[in-house]
Protein backbone atom coordinates (compact mmCIF):
# COMPACT_ATOMS: atom_id res chain seq x y z
CA UNK A 1 0.00 0.00 0.00
CA UNK A 2 1.12 3.51 -0.77
CA UNK A 3 0.49 6.18 1.84
CA UNK A 4 1.02 9.82 1.00
CA UNK A 5 0.78 12.16 3.96
CA UNK A 6 0.61 15.97 3.78
CA UNK A 7 2.89 16.23 0.78
CA UNK A 8 3.84 19.74 -0.30
CA UNK A 9 6.22 21.05 -2.92
CA UNK A 10 7.48 24.64 -3.13
CA UNK A 11 9.76 26.27 -5.66
CA UNK A 12 11.59 29.57 -5.62
CA UNK A 13 10.48 31.65 -8.60
CA UNK A 14 11.94 35.12 -9.15
CA UNK A 15 12.85 35.33 -5.47
CA UNK A 16 9.34 34.35 -4.42
CA UNK A 17 8.31 31.08 -2.79
CA UNK A 18 5.62 29.47 -4.89
CA UNK A 19 3.58 26.46 -3.79
CA UNK A 20 3.08 23.87 -6.56
CA UNK A 21 1.51 21.19 -4.37
CA UNK A 22 -0.09 21.80 -1.03
CA UNK A 23 -0.87 19.28 1.71
CA UNK A 24 -1.71 16.33 -0.56
CA UNK A 25 -2.72 13.15 1.28
CA UNK A 26 -4.07 9.89 -0.16
CA UNK A 27 -3.59 6.12 -0.12
CA UNK A 28 -3.40 3.52 -2.86
CA UNK A 29 -4.35 0.03 -1.72
CA UNK A 30 -2.62 -3.13 -2.94
CA UNK A 31 -3.89 -3.97 -6.43
CA UNK A 32 -5.86 -0.74 -6.64
CA UNK A 33 -5.98 1.50 -9.70
CA UNK A 34 -6.08 5.19 -8.87
CA UNK A 35 -6.54 7.61 -11.73
CA UNK A 36 -5.37 11.16 -11.12
CA UNK A 37 -6.99 13.77 -13.32
CA UNK A 38 -7.58 17.49 -13.31
CA UNK A 39 -6.78 20.62 -15.29
CA UNK A 40 -3.41 21.17 -16.97
CA UNK A 41 -0.87 22.81 -14.68
CA UNK A 42 -2.74 21.60 -11.59
CA UNK A 43 0.24 19.61 -10.22
CA UNK A 44 -0.46 16.03 -11.37
CA UNK A 45 2.92 15.40 -13.03
CA UNK A 46 4.69 17.14 -10.14
CA UNK A 47 2.99 14.74 -7.74
CA UNK A 48 4.07 11.76 -9.88
CA UNK A 49 7.67 13.01 -9.86
CA UNK A 50 7.55 13.44 -6.07
CA UNK A 51 6.44 9.80 -5.75
CA UNK A 52 9.39 8.63 -7.88
CA UNK A 53 11.84 10.93 -6.09
CA UNK A 54 12.64 12.94 -9.23
CA UNK A 55 11.59 16.04 -7.30
CA UNK A 56 12.05 16.23 -3.54
CA UNK A 57 9.02 17.13 -1.43
CA UNK A 58 9.28 20.26 0.73
CA UNK A 59 7.31 18.52 3.47
CA UNK A 60 5.20 15.43 4.07
CA UNK A 61 5.82 11.69 4.04
CA UNK A 62 5.58 8.84 1.55
CA UNK A 63 5.31 5.23 2.75
CA UNK A 64 5.34 2.12 0.57
CA UNK A 65 4.12 -0.99 2.37
CA UNK A 66 4.91 0.75 5.65
CA UNK A 67 8.49 1.64 4.63
CA UNK A 68 9.20 5.37 4.79
CA UNK A 69 10.67 6.18 1.36
CA UNK A 70 10.47 9.99 1.69
CA UNK A 71 14.25 10.40 1.78
CA UNK A 72 15.01 7.67 -0.76
CA UNK A 73 16.73 8.57 -4.02
CA UNK A 74 15.20 7.66 -7.39
CA UNK A 75 17.09 4.35 -7.65
CA UNK A 76 16.29 3.43 -4.04
CA UNK A 77 12.60 3.98 -4.75
CA UNK A 78 12.89 1.85 -7.89
CA UNK A 79 14.46 -0.92 -5.81
CA UNK A 80 11.70 -0.48 -3.22
CA UNK A 81 9.23 -1.36 -5.99
CA UNK A 82 8.09 1.77 -7.85
CA UNK A 83 7.98 1.83 -11.66
CA UNK A 84 7.54 5.03 -13.63
CA UNK A 85 6.50 5.84 -17.19
CA UNK A 86 7.36 9.36 -18.26
CA UNK A 87 4.98 11.64 -20.08
CA UNK A 88 7.81 12.68 -22.40
CA UNK A 89 10.40 9.89 -22.38
CA UNK A 90 14.01 10.64 -23.31
CA UNK A 91 15.74 9.14 -26.35
CA UNK A 92 19.07 7.31 -26.22
CA UNK A 93 21.54 7.46 -29.10
CA UNK A 94 23.11 4.07 -29.68
CA UNK A 95 20.82 2.10 -27.37
CA UNK A 96 18.62 -0.56 -28.92
CA UNK A 97 15.06 -1.22 -27.81
CA UNK A 98 16.12 -4.69 -26.62
CA UNK A 99 18.92 -3.23 -24.47
CA UNK A 100 16.60 -0.63 -22.93
CA UNK A 101 14.00 -3.29 -22.10
CA UNK A 102 16.71 -5.51 -20.58
CA UNK A 103 17.97 -2.63 -18.44
CA UNK A 104 14.39 -1.99 -17.34
CA UNK A 105 13.88 -5.65 -16.45
CA UNK A 106 17.23 -5.79 -14.62
CA UNK A 107 18.27 -8.87 -16.63
CA UNK A 108 19.07 -9.80 -20.23
CA UNK A 109 15.75 -10.46 -21.93
CA UNK A 110 15.42 -13.08 -24.64
CA UNK A 111 13.82 -12.24 -27.96
CA UNK A 112 10.53 -13.92 -27.06
CA UNK A 113 10.08 -11.84 -23.89
CA UNK A 114 10.98 -8.60 -25.70
CA UNK A 115 8.52 -9.45 -28.47
CA UNK A 116 5.77 -10.12 -25.92
CA UNK A 117 6.38 -6.77 -24.24
CA UNK A 118 6.41 -4.83 -27.50
CA UNK A 119 3.32 -6.60 -28.81
CA UNK A 120 1.44 -5.73 -25.63
CA UNK A 121 1.92 -2.03 -26.39
CA UNK A 122 0.94 -2.42 -30.03
CA UNK A 123 4.37 -2.52 -31.66
CA UNK A 124 5.39 -5.12 -34.21
CA UNK A 125 8.26 -6.59 -32.25
CA UNK A 126 10.56 -7.72 -35.06
CA UNK A 127 10.58 -4.22 -36.55
CA UNK A 128 11.63 -2.56 -33.32
CA UNK A 129 13.74 -4.91 -31.24
CA UNK A 130 17.09 -3.92 -32.81
CA UNK A 131 16.21 -0.31 -33.57
CA UNK A 132 17.85 2.48 -31.62
CA UNK A 133 15.78 4.46 -29.14
CA UNK A 134 16.73 7.68 -30.90
CA UNK A 135 15.09 10.48 -32.85
CA UNK A 136 14.20 8.13 -35.74
CA UNK A 137 11.30 6.88 -33.58
CA UNK A 138 8.07 8.86 -33.66
CA UNK A 139 6.50 10.33 -30.51
CA UNK A 140 3.91 7.52 -30.39
CA UNK A 141 6.53 4.81 -30.85
CA UNK A 142 8.80 6.13 -28.11
CA UNK A 143 5.80 6.47 -25.80
CA UNK A 144 4.79 2.84 -26.31
CA UNK A 145 8.36 1.66 -25.71
CA UNK A 146 8.34 3.73 -22.52
CA UNK A 147 5.27 1.88 -21.27
CA UNK A 148 6.91 -1.44 -22.22
CA UNK A 149 9.90 -0.56 -20.00
CA UNK A 150 7.59 -0.36 -16.98
CA UNK A 151 5.83 -3.60 -17.93
CA UNK A 152 9.23 -5.33 -18.22
CA UNK A 153 9.41 -5.85 -14.47
CA UNK A 154 7.01 -6.62 -11.64
CA UNK A 155 6.55 -3.61 -9.36
CA UNK A 156 4.62 -2.93 -6.21
CA UNK A 157 3.39 0.35 -7.67
CA UNK A 158 3.45 1.59 -11.27
CA UNK A 159 3.03 5.27 -12.06
CA UNK A 160 2.03 6.15 -15.63
CA UNK A 161 2.07 9.84 -16.51
CA UNK A 162 -0.44 10.37 -19.33
CA UNK A 163 0.16 7.00 -21.01
CA UNK A 164 -2.36 7.77 -23.75
CA UNK A 165 -0.61 10.94 -25.00
CA UNK A 166 0.53 10.55 -28.61
CA UNK A 167 -0.78 6.99 -29.00
CA UNK A 168 -3.06 6.07 -31.89
CA UNK A 169 -6.54 4.66 -31.25
CA UNK A 170 -5.69 1.06 -32.14
CA UNK A 171 -2.68 0.96 -29.82
CA UNK A 172 -4.68 2.80 -27.18
CA UNK A 173 -7.21 -0.07 -27.13
CA UNK A 174 -4.38 -2.57 -26.68
CA UNK A 175 -2.97 -0.47 -23.89
CA UNK A 176 -6.33 -0.31 -22.14
CA UNK A 177 -6.53 -4.12 -22.33
CA UNK A 178 -3.05 -4.41 -20.82
CA UNK A 179 -3.98 -2.06 -17.96
CA UNK A 180 -7.20 -4.01 -17.39
CA UNK A 181 -5.21 -7.24 -17.25
CA UNK A 182 -2.75 -5.84 -14.67
CA UNK A 183 -5.66 -4.46 -12.70
CA UNK A 184 -7.48 -7.82 -12.78
CA UNK A 185 -4.40 -9.72 -11.60
CA UNK A 186 -4.19 -7.33 -8.61
CA UNK A 187 -0.45 -7.95 -8.34
CA UNK A 188 0.52 -4.31 -8.80
CA UNK A 189 -1.00 -1.07 -7.62
CA UNK A 190 -1.34 1.53 -10.34
CA UNK A 191 -1.46 5.28 -10.50
CA UNK A 192 -2.46 6.62 -13.89
CA UNK A 193 -2.44 10.29 -14.66
CA UNK A 194 -4.90 10.79 -17.46
CA UNK A 195 -7.50 12.97 -19.12
CA UNK A 196 -8.96 10.05 -21.07
CA UNK A 197 -12.50 9.07 -20.15
CA UNK A 198 -11.86 5.37 -20.94
CA UNK A 199 -8.95 5.31 -18.51
CA UNK A 200 -10.84 7.32 -15.90
CA UNK A 201 -13.74 4.84 -16.11
CA UNK A 202 -11.36 1.92 -15.38
CA UNK A 203 -10.34 3.37 -12.02
CA UNK A 204 -11.22 1.95 -8.64
CA UNK A 205 -10.95 5.51 -7.41
CA UNK A 206 -10.43 8.87 -9.01
CA UNK A 207 -8.48 11.76 -7.52
CA UNK A 208 -8.89 15.24 -8.95
CA UNK A 209 -5.91 17.55 -8.47
CA UNK A 210 -6.47 21.21 -9.12
CA UNK A 211 -4.37 24.26 -8.14
CA UNK A 212 -1.94 21.95 -6.34
CA UNK A 213 -4.58 20.55 -4.02
CA UNK A 214 -6.74 17.44 -3.81
CA UNK A 215 -10.05 18.74 -5.11
CA UNK A 216 -11.84 15.44 -4.63
CA UNK A 217 -11.14 11.73 -4.23
CA UNK A 218 -13.58 8.86 -4.36
CA UNK A 219 -15.03 6.02 -6.39
CA UNK A 220 -15.76 6.45 -10.11
CA UNK A 221 -19.49 6.66 -9.32
CA UNK A 222 -18.90 9.47 -6.83
CA UNK A 223 -16.41 11.55 -8.77
CA UNK A 224 -17.36 11.04 -12.47
CA UNK A 225 -20.62 13.02 -12.42
CA UNK A 226 -18.96 15.84 -10.53
CA UNK A 227 -15.97 15.77 -12.85
CA UNK A 228 -17.85 16.06 -16.11
CA UNK A 229 -20.54 18.31 -14.63
CA UNK A 230 -17.81 20.77 -13.59
CA UNK A 231 -16.18 20.78 -16.95
CA UNK A 232 -17.99 23.76 -18.44
CA UNK A 233 -17.73 26.07 -15.45
CA UNK A 234 -14.20 25.26 -14.35
CA UNK A 235 -12.83 28.34 -16.07
CA UNK A 236 -13.36 31.80 -14.67
CA UNK A 237 -13.54 33.39 -18.16
CA UNK A 238 -16.12 30.87 -19.31
CA UNK A 239 -18.20 31.38 -16.19
CA UNK A 240 -18.25 35.10 -16.81
CA UNK A 241 -19.35 34.52 -20.42
CA UNK A 242 -22.02 32.03 -19.35
CA UNK A 243 -20.09 29.00 -20.52
CA UNK A 244 -19.54 30.21 -24.06
CA UNK A 245 -16.25 30.05 -25.84
CA UNK A 246 -14.28 33.14 -26.75
CA UNK A 247 -15.42 34.76 -29.96
CA UNK A 248 -18.83 33.16 -29.93
Amino acid sequence: MLQVEHLSYDVLEEGKQSEILSDVSFNVEDGEMLVITGPNGGGKSTLAKLLMGINKASSGRILLNGEDITDYSIDERAKAGIGFAFQQPPRFKGMTVRRLLSLAAGRALDEKTCCGLLSSVGLCAMEYIDREVDSTLSGGEIKRIEIATVLAKQHKLCVFDEPEAGIDLWSFSMLIKRFEQIHKEKKESMILISHQERIIRMADRIMVISDGKVDSIGSAEEVMPKLFGQEMDSCECRRQKGGELYGT
Binding site: F86, P90, G106
Partner: protein, 306 residues
Protein backbone atom coordinates in the same frame (compact mmCIF):
# COMPACT_ATOMS: atom_id res chain seq x y z
CA UNK B 1 54.16 -18.75 -34.34
CA UNK B 2 53.64 -18.70 -30.58
CA UNK B 3 52.45 -15.33 -29.20
CA UNK B 4 53.05 -14.17 -25.64
CA UNK B 5 50.22 -13.31 -23.24
CA UNK B 6 50.57 -9.50 -23.58
CA UNK B 7 50.30 -9.79 -27.36
CA UNK B 8 47.36 -12.18 -27.14
CA UNK B 9 45.53 -9.90 -24.68
CA UNK B 10 46.04 -6.74 -26.75
CA UNK B 11 45.00 -8.61 -29.90
CA UNK B 12 41.71 -9.53 -28.24
CA UNK B 13 40.97 -5.84 -27.67
CA UNK B 14 41.98 -4.49 -31.08
CA UNK B 15 40.66 -7.35 -33.22
CA UNK B 16 37.07 -7.99 -32.16
CA UNK B 17 36.63 -10.40 -35.09
CA UNK B 18 39.24 -12.68 -33.54
CA UNK B 19 42.83 -12.80 -34.86
CA UNK B 20 43.94 -16.19 -36.19
CA UNK B 21 47.09 -17.18 -38.03
CA UNK B 22 45.16 -18.50 -41.00
CA UNK B 23 43.80 -17.10 -44.24
CA UNK B 24 45.14 -13.64 -45.13
CA UNK B 25 46.87 -11.98 -42.18
CA UNK B 26 49.93 -10.03 -41.16
CA UNK B 27 51.07 -9.32 -37.61
CA UNK B 28 53.51 -6.50 -36.93
CA UNK B 29 55.17 -6.58 -33.51
CA UNK B 30 57.53 -3.83 -32.26
CA UNK B 31 58.35 -2.60 -35.74
CA UNK B 32 58.86 -6.05 -37.28
CA UNK B 33 56.57 -8.08 -39.51
CA UNK B 34 56.61 -11.31 -37.49
CA UNK B 35 54.20 -13.50 -39.42
CA UNK B 36 51.91 -13.35 -42.37
CA UNK B 37 49.81 -15.56 -44.59
CA UNK B 38 48.08 -15.37 -47.95
CA UNK B 39 44.78 -16.80 -49.02
CA UNK B 40 43.69 -17.95 -52.46
CA UNK B 41 42.42 -14.47 -53.32
CA UNK B 42 44.47 -12.20 -51.09
CA UNK B 43 48.22 -11.77 -51.36
CA UNK B 44 50.37 -9.88 -48.85
CA UNK B 45 53.81 -8.72 -50.04
CA UNK B 46 56.50 -7.09 -47.86
CA UNK B 47 57.71 -3.75 -49.23
CA UNK B 48 61.37 -3.65 -50.13
CA UNK B 49 62.01 0.09 -50.09
CA UNK B 50 60.33 0.94 -46.76
CA UNK B 51 58.59 -0.79 -43.85
CA UNK B 52 55.13 -2.05 -44.65
CA UNK B 53 53.13 -4.32 -46.89
CA UNK B 54 51.20 -4.29 -50.15
CA UNK B 55 47.91 -6.13 -49.93
CA UNK B 56 46.48 -7.35 -53.24
CA UNK B 57 42.83 -8.32 -53.05
CA UNK B 58 41.50 -10.05 -56.15
CA UNK B 59 38.08 -9.45 -57.66
CA UNK B 60 37.15 -13.03 -56.78
CA UNK B 61 37.32 -12.29 -53.06
CA UNK B 62 33.82 -12.70 -51.62
CA UNK B 63 33.12 -12.14 -47.93
CA UNK B 64 36.71 -12.76 -46.85
CA UNK B 65 38.56 -11.12 -43.94
CA UNK B 66 42.12 -9.76 -43.80
CA UNK B 67 43.64 -9.18 -40.37
CA UNK B 68 46.61 -6.80 -40.13
CA UNK B 69 47.07 -5.84 -36.46
CA UNK B 70 50.05 -3.93 -35.06
CA UNK B 71 51.26 -4.34 -31.48
CA UNK B 72 53.90 -2.30 -29.69
CA UNK B 73 55.09 -3.54 -26.33
CA UNK B 74 58.49 -1.79 -26.50
CA UNK B 75 59.23 1.94 -26.56
CA UNK B 76 60.18 3.64 -29.79
CA UNK B 77 58.74 4.96 -32.99
CA UNK B 78 57.34 2.69 -35.70
CA UNK B 79 56.31 4.14 -39.04
CA UNK B 80 54.70 1.71 -41.44
CA UNK B 81 53.31 2.07 -44.97
CA UNK B 82 50.51 -0.28 -45.98
CA UNK B 83 48.94 -0.07 -49.44
CA UNK B 84 45.79 -1.93 -50.42
CA UNK B 85 44.96 -2.72 -54.04
CA UNK B 86 41.38 -3.91 -54.27
CA UNK B 87 40.22 -5.18 -57.65
CA UNK B 88 36.84 -4.66 -59.29
CA UNK B 89 34.04 -6.65 -57.67
CA UNK B 90 35.89 -7.69 -54.49
CA UNK B 91 33.96 -8.01 -51.23
CA UNK B 92 36.32 -7.85 -48.26
CA UNK B 93 36.55 -6.90 -44.59
CA UNK B 94 39.89 -5.55 -43.42
CA UNK B 95 40.52 -5.59 -39.69
CA UNK B 96 43.41 -3.36 -38.74
CA UNK B 97 44.28 -1.49 -35.58
CA UNK B 98 47.11 -0.81 -33.23
CA UNK B 99 47.55 -1.70 -29.61
CA UNK B 100 50.30 -0.32 -27.37
CA UNK B 101 51.39 -1.98 -24.15
CA UNK B 102 53.66 0.65 -22.62
CA UNK B 103 55.73 -0.08 -19.53
CA UNK B 104 58.61 2.32 -20.20
CA UNK B 105 59.24 6.00 -19.54
CA UNK B 106 59.85 7.14 -23.10
CA UNK B 107 57.46 7.54 -25.99
CA UNK B 108 55.87 4.62 -27.79
CA UNK B 109 54.50 5.75 -31.14
CA UNK B 110 53.01 4.10 -34.17
CA UNK B 111 52.26 5.97 -37.38
CA UNK B 112 50.27 3.82 -39.78
CA UNK B 113 50.25 5.33 -43.26
CA UNK B 114 47.60 3.54 -45.29
CA UNK B 115 46.31 3.88 -48.82
CA UNK B 116 43.36 2.09 -50.39
CA UNK B 117 42.93 1.88 -54.13
CA UNK B 118 39.46 0.47 -54.66
CA UNK B 119 38.28 -0.61 -58.11
CA UNK B 120 34.74 -0.65 -59.45
CA UNK B 121 31.76 -2.47 -57.91
CA UNK B 122 33.74 -3.45 -54.83
CA UNK B 123 32.55 -3.59 -51.23
CA UNK B 124 35.19 -2.82 -48.62
CA UNK B 125 34.76 -2.65 -44.88
CA UNK B 126 37.77 -1.30 -42.97
CA UNK B 127 37.73 -1.65 -39.19
CA UNK B 128 40.40 0.11 -37.18
CA UNK B 129 40.70 -0.11 -33.40
CA UNK B 130 43.21 1.93 -31.46
CA UNK B 131 44.05 1.11 -27.89
CA UNK B 132 46.82 1.55 -25.33
CA UNK B 133 47.53 0.14 -21.88
CA UNK B 134 50.38 -0.26 -19.40
CA UNK B 135 51.74 1.62 -16.41
CA UNK B 136 54.70 3.26 -18.18
CA UNK B 137 54.98 7.02 -17.93
CA UNK B 138 56.10 7.38 -21.56
CA UNK B 139 53.39 8.75 -23.80
CA UNK B 140 51.49 6.36 -26.06
CA UNK B 141 50.94 7.97 -29.42
CA UNK B 142 49.10 6.90 -32.57
CA UNK B 143 49.12 9.05 -35.68
CA UNK B 144 47.35 7.28 -38.54
CA UNK B 145 47.18 8.68 -42.07
CA UNK B 146 44.60 7.09 -44.35
CA UNK B 147 44.05 7.83 -48.04
CA UNK B 148 41.14 6.12 -49.75
CA UNK B 149 40.27 6.23 -53.44
CA UNK B 150 36.87 4.64 -54.05
CA UNK B 151 36.08 3.57 -57.62
CA UNK B 152 32.81 3.68 -59.52
CA UNK B 153 29.81 1.93 -57.91
CA UNK B 154 31.91 0.80 -54.95
CA UNK B 155 31.03 1.02 -51.27
CA UNK B 156 33.62 1.79 -48.60
CA UNK B 157 32.75 1.51 -44.90
CA UNK B 158 35.23 2.87 -42.39
CA UNK B 159 34.75 2.14 -38.69
CA UNK B 160 37.35 3.65 -36.45
CA UNK B 161 37.34 3.32 -32.68
CA UNK B 162 39.64 4.60 -29.93
CA UNK B 163 38.18 4.01 -26.51
CA UNK B 164 41.05 4.26 -24.07
CA UNK B 165 44.70 4.53 -23.23
CA UNK B 166 46.04 6.60 -26.14
CA UNK B 167 47.68 9.78 -24.84
CA UNK B 168 47.84 11.58 -28.14
CA UNK B 169 46.47 10.99 -31.58
CA UNK B 170 46.47 13.01 -34.77
CA UNK B 171 44.50 11.42 -37.54
CA UNK B 172 44.52 12.47 -41.14
CA UNK B 173 42.00 10.98 -43.54
CA UNK B 174 41.61 11.84 -47.21
CA UNK B 175 38.93 10.19 -49.32
CA UNK B 176 37.99 10.53 -52.99
CA UNK B 177 34.74 9.15 -54.34
CA UNK B 178 34.10 8.34 -58.02
CA UNK B 179 30.74 8.04 -59.78
CA UNK B 180 28.07 6.25 -57.68
CA UNK B 181 30.63 5.50 -54.97
CA UNK B 182 29.34 5.40 -51.42
CA UNK B 183 31.21 6.12 -48.21
CA UNK B 184 30.08 5.34 -44.67
CA UNK B 185 32.29 6.52 -41.84
CA UNK B 186 31.71 5.90 -38.14
CA UNK B 187 34.24 7.37 -35.76
CA UNK B 188 34.07 6.63 -32.05
CA UNK B 189 36.47 8.09 -29.58
CA UNK B 190 36.85 8.60 -25.86
CA UNK B 191 39.59 10.57 -24.16
CA UNK B 192 40.38 10.90 -20.46
CA UNK B 193 43.06 12.41 -18.20
CA UNK B 194 45.15 14.87 -20.20
CA UNK B 195 44.91 12.98 -23.50
CA UNK B 196 44.54 14.82 -26.79
CA UNK B 197 42.91 13.81 -30.04
CA UNK B 198 42.84 15.62 -33.36
CA UNK B 199 40.89 14.17 -36.26
CA UNK B 200 40.86 15.68 -39.72
CA UNK B 201 38.88 14.13 -42.54
CA UNK B 202 38.61 15.44 -46.08
CA UNK B 203 36.06 13.82 -48.37
CA UNK B 204 36.05 14.80 -52.04
CA UNK B 205 32.81 13.80 -53.75
CA UNK B 206 34.06 13.86 -57.32
CA UNK B 207 31.74 11.47 -59.12
CA UNK B 208 28.13 11.97 -60.12
CA UNK B 209 25.76 10.41 -57.56
CA UNK B 210 28.52 9.80 -55.06
CA UNK B 211 27.48 9.93 -51.41
CA UNK B 212 29.05 10.11 -47.99
CA UNK B 213 27.74 9.66 -44.47
CA UNK B 214 30.11 10.59 -41.67
CA UNK B 215 29.08 9.95 -38.09
CA UNK B 216 31.38 10.94 -35.26
CA UNK B 217 30.53 10.15 -31.64
CA UNK B 218 32.94 11.10 -28.91
CA UNK B 219 33.21 11.43 -25.15
CA UNK B 220 35.70 13.76 -23.47
CA UNK B 221 36.53 13.23 -19.79
CA UNK B 222 39.09 14.61 -17.32
CA UNK B 223 41.09 17.48 -18.79
CA UNK B 224 41.36 15.88 -22.23
CA UNK B 225 41.04 17.85 -25.46
CA UNK B 226 39.48 16.82 -28.75
CA UNK B 227 39.35 18.62 -32.09
CA UNK B 228 37.32 17.34 -35.05
CA UNK B 229 37.41 18.73 -38.51
CA UNK B 230 35.42 16.70 -41.01
CA UNK B 231 35.12 18.32 -44.42
CA UNK B 232 32.94 17.30 -47.37
CA UNK B 233 33.55 18.85 -50.76
CA UNK B 234 30.82 18.36 -53.38
CA UNK B 235 32.36 18.56 -56.85
CA UNK B 236 29.42 16.95 -58.66
CA UNK B 237 25.82 15.89 -58.17
CA UNK B 238 26.23 14.23 -54.76
CA UNK B 239 24.88 13.82 -51.24
CA UNK B 240 26.83 14.11 -48.01
CA UNK B 241 25.81 14.15 -44.38
CA UNK B 242 28.17 14.89 -41.51
CA UNK B 243 26.99 14.34 -37.96
CA UNK B 244 29.25 15.03 -34.98
CA UNK B 245 27.94 14.33 -31.47
CA UNK B 246 30.02 14.70 -28.36
CA UNK B 247 29.44 14.22 -24.66
CA UNK B 248 31.57 16.54 -22.58
CA UNK B 249 32.41 15.75 -18.95
CA UNK B 250 34.58 17.08 -16.14
CA UNK B 251 37.00 19.75 -17.43
CA UNK B 252 37.35 18.36 -20.95
CA UNK B 253 37.42 20.56 -24.05
CA UNK B 254 35.88 19.55 -27.35
CA UNK B 255 35.99 21.47 -30.57
CA UNK B 256 33.93 20.32 -33.53
CA UNK B 257 34.37 22.07 -36.86
CA UNK B 258 32.34 20.42 -39.61
CA UNK B 259 33.01 22.03 -42.98
CA UNK B 260 30.89 21.66 -46.10
CA UNK B 261 31.95 22.98 -49.44
CA UNK B 262 29.70 22.79 -52.52
CA UNK B 263 31.34 23.30 -55.90
CA UNK B 264 28.40 22.05 -57.98
CA UNK B 265 24.81 23.26 -58.13
CA UNK B 266 23.51 19.71 -57.46
CA UNK B 267 25.71 19.05 -54.47
CA UNK B 268 23.58 18.49 -51.36
CA UNK B 269 25.64 18.56 -48.20
CA UNK B 270 24.36 18.70 -44.63
CA UNK B 271 26.22 18.96 -41.38
CA UNK B 272 25.07 18.67 -37.79
CA UNK B 273 27.23 19.11 -34.73
CA UNK B 274 26.28 18.94 -31.07
CA UNK B 275 28.33 19.00 -27.88
CA UNK B 276 26.72 18.69 -24.48
CA UNK B 277 26.87 17.07 -21.12
CA UNK B 278 25.02 13.82 -20.39
CA UNK B 279 21.32 14.45 -20.67
CA UNK B 280 19.71 14.65 -17.21
CA UNK B 281 16.50 13.07 -18.46
CA UNK B 282 18.40 10.01 -19.67
CA UNK B 283 20.09 9.70 -16.27
CA UNK B 284 16.77 9.99 -14.43
CA UNK B 285 15.13 7.43 -16.72
CA UNK B 286 17.85 4.85 -16.07
CA UNK B 287 17.75 5.58 -12.36
CA UNK B 288 14.04 4.68 -12.37
CA UNK B 289 15.28 1.20 -13.37
CA UNK B 290 17.21 1.07 -10.09
CA UNK B 291 20.64 2.20 -11.32
CA UNK B 292 22.84 4.61 -9.38
CA UNK B 293 23.87 7.82 -11.10
CA UNK B 294 27.34 6.38 -11.84
CA UNK B 295 25.90 3.16 -13.27
CA UNK B 296 23.46 5.12 -15.44
CA UNK B 297 26.29 7.35 -16.68
CA UNK B 298 28.38 4.31 -17.70
CA UNK B 299 25.46 2.75 -19.56
CA UNK B 300 24.76 5.99 -21.47
CA UNK B 301 28.41 6.37 -22.53
CA UNK B 302 28.74 2.70 -23.45
CA UNK B 303 25.61 2.85 -25.64
CA UNK B 304 26.64 6.17 -27.19
CA UNK B 305 29.99 4.72 -28.27
CA UNK B 306 28.69 1.29 -29.25
Amino acid sequence: MELNKVTEDVLKVIDSYGFRQEGAYSLRLNGMAVCHGDSRHIRIVQKEDKPGIDIHISGETKGEQVHIPVIMSQEGVDIVYNDFYIEDGADVTIIAGCGIHGEGCSETRHDGIHSFHVGKNANVKYIENHYAEGDGTGSKVLNPVTKIFVGEDSVFTLETTQIRGVDSTERENYIELAENAKLFVTEKLMTDGNQTAVSNMDVELNGENSSAQIISRTVGKGTSRQVFHPKAVGNNLCHAHIQCDSIIMDQAEISSIPEIDAKHVDAQIVHEAAIGRINDEQLVKLRTFGMTEQEAESVIIESFLK
